[in-house]
Symmetry: C2
Subunit: 404 residues, 2 copies
């Protein structure tokens, strides 16, 4: 159902518009804001005055020189308006970063995960401690942190910030909002890792001048398989989601997956799946907990030298991906696919299988195969996605609550 609208909502929307423009560009003058947003000059004055009084914006000290006429004064987000904590959880390390409202990195450290102690309880304790440490190192009060943005692989409920299923904790749920609930006033956000990659790539694509961005998919290859989809809705909003692609059904022949089901895409295209196929281990053996990359490098080397089973393993992995992508395109729409993650080192070995898997479907026969490109540096993209998403959420919050 639609919801009622009022003049205050108009201001909220337009404030958000100004903040978004400023976020994209870094700093803009009065006239540039007006041109960018389409708002009248008088309206821009009203909004910037309000935001300046609230301490969100400030006039930049360096002014641009040159040209005649009254010099422009640049508005820019006030870096000390607040702070953001980003936590990247991966299978081996957890990375904690402190960022200011302007988007610049202030501090960062990694904690290596202790593989002996399993379960969410010790992890939760370490997590809360690490956040405190991040504050202390920068002598920052807890309430200056406006948002804590967390990412992990796996299935996530972004509304409530609960981790529903993850490669690390399995079905043990982890409720990050509850973890920080009484002490922290910060907004707690939890996102799937590959969703953030899609978010970052979509933001990059939108910044390109040629425009016309509609949709894009990001696939992360590694021990597990992730998918993020970013699509522009009719209303112009960017709609990002992380479907459960890795454990979508591929074919029973893919064998036992570590999630307990049979035939997941991951069981064929994840690192342990490739290993299993290459060594001709029966497909119903319980998957290896962890596969060192060196191990896979060896298989890849022998595949490149023409070893039959090694090549077959990568081809089967590609086939699972290709079929899965074709199904994804059938259910959404044709869109470019960006492949990322540690598995891209074997992309050349998988590509023939991917293409074969794609070609089988009607969708691809009708509309053509999607563009597939490799996006290296997954970690940077995840971090960019964090910034994009968390700072955007903070901006939306500012616009919503106004100066009050």
């Amino acid at each position: 159902m639609l919801t009622k609208s009022s003049t205050e909502l108009v201001r909220q929307q337009n404030s958000a518009l100004v903040l978004a423009a400023l976020r994209r560009a870094g700093n803009l003058s009065h006239t540039e804001i007006s041109a960018d947003t389409g708002l009248a000059s008088a309206t821009v004055s009203a909004i910037t005055a309000e935001l300046e009084k609230a301490g969100v914006l400030a006039k930049a000290e360096h002014q641009v020189q040159g040209g005649r006429g009254r010099p422009r004064v640049l508005f820019t987000p006030r870096r000390d308006y607040g702070h953001l904590v980003v936590v990247r959880i991966s299978s081996d390390i957890v990375q904690y970063s402190l960022i200011d409202y302007g988007g610049t990195l202030l501090d960062r450290f990694d904690e290596t995960r202790n593989h002996d102690e399993r379960g969410t309880v010790p992890f939760a304790r370490a997590f809360v401690d690490a956040l405190e440490r991040l504050l202390q190192r920068s002598r920052l009060e807890r309430d200056r942190v406006l948002a804590v943005s967390i990412s992990s692989k796996g299935l996530v409920d972004s509304d409530t910030a609960r981790l529903l299923w993850s490669p690390v904790f399995g079905r043990e749920e982890l409720d990050f909002a509850a973890l920080l609930a009484p002490q922290w006033r910060a907004k707690v956000m939890l996102s799937n890792e590959t969703l953030l990659v899609a978010q970052a790539l979509a933001a990059q694509a939108e910044r390109k001048p040629e425009g016309g961005f509609r949709a894009l998919a990001a696939i992360s290859l590694g021990h597990s398989i992730g998918l993020g989809v970013a699509r522009k809705s009719q209303s112009g909003e960017m709609d990002v989601s992380a479907p459960n692609f890795g454990h979508m059904l591929h074919a029973p022949s893919a064998g036992l997956c570590r999630c307990g089901a049979y035939g997941c895409i991951e069981a064929a295209a994840g690192f342990y799946g490739i290993l299993r196929a290459a060594f001709e281990v029966p497909a119903d053996t319980i998957p290896a907990k962890f596969v060192p990359v060196a191990e896979l490098d060896k298989i890849a080397a022998s595949a490149r030298q023409g070893h039959r089973m090694a090549g077959y393993a990568f081809r089967q992995a590609g086939l699972a991906l290709g079929n899965g992508i074709s199904r994804m395109l059938s259910l959404y729409e044709r869109m470019p696919v960006h492949v990322t993650g540690p598995g891209i080192r074997y992309f050349d070995l998988m590509l023939p299988g991917i293409e074969e898997g794609l070609a089988q479907s009607m969708q691809v026969r009708l509309q053509g195969a999607p563009e597939i490109s490799v996006a290296p540096d997954e970690q940077r993209l995840v971090f960019e996605g964090h910034l994009e998403r968390a700072l955007g959420a903070i901006d939306a919050d500012i616009a919503a609550t106004g100066t009050s």
Copy 2:
């Protein structure tokens, strides 16, 4: 990107809100509108006065009696504000209906499709002629028709009203907007048939008092397989789409599909797929153009008597559906599934296969199987979906253009 807002847009949004409330309820008094929409009484006065002047609304002649105090006056859409034409294209007939702005059916006739003359050109001529006939029978001027809403099975581009792929015309495209472009000022809308079923079911679910509707899927079983998905987006808008489910890849074993690809869901679960499996015809034979329902009834009867291959055929069909649904749920979210179409007569025979196909996936193991229910009377649902969608679009248009 967000788009700029203004006070006029607020009025537009609130007018749409009033029209939607009135559309749902049929007629409402001033106070009821205010309660329903959350708008202040004064605002309701302003909006209804404007719409009344524009001839969209009128005060109903019968007033409700009883109770003391000033009697309520009911507002209702003016039936003669404009008209709507609904065209349902199915494989054997094309049904033309004339509806007024109040949503009541004024006239209807069917044209049986001539199976001898193939191709879009003769069809297009017959289509345009039939529309003219519909006007003449009710002595209606062409410009009184505000929208022409068309439905067909197959792949549709709803933005441009082009039919991209259909069971009847194959890859021959059909551009309905261009067909009526110069002569008709009506808005031309083209929707996938099962999308409309999903739209109608979602509207029903939303009207239920318990509320909390999130998403739903409709699957149509017949010669071909259709899927419609309705989901409520964060912004509260209903987002309806018709993914290419019937030709999503199931498994190569499903055999040759009439679309030319191998392994589509339809090739296993469509009527001709079931026929082929039951008679053990090689899976790469070109599918029958048309399968009479009597033929399938016979197979179903022998399956119910325990005939092995007949039972197997339906089970395989169910398996294809179950796997497909599980993949759909992996890519979207858990949601109830409504099954409709002529194939529901065999639903009991397919259900075991469906359940087996669902149970294989991690998604279902984790979140449980979706509720599956049978929705008879597909044609009525399609028609309701037409009304819901087309009258809603007309209302949105009225709100957008205002009185001007």
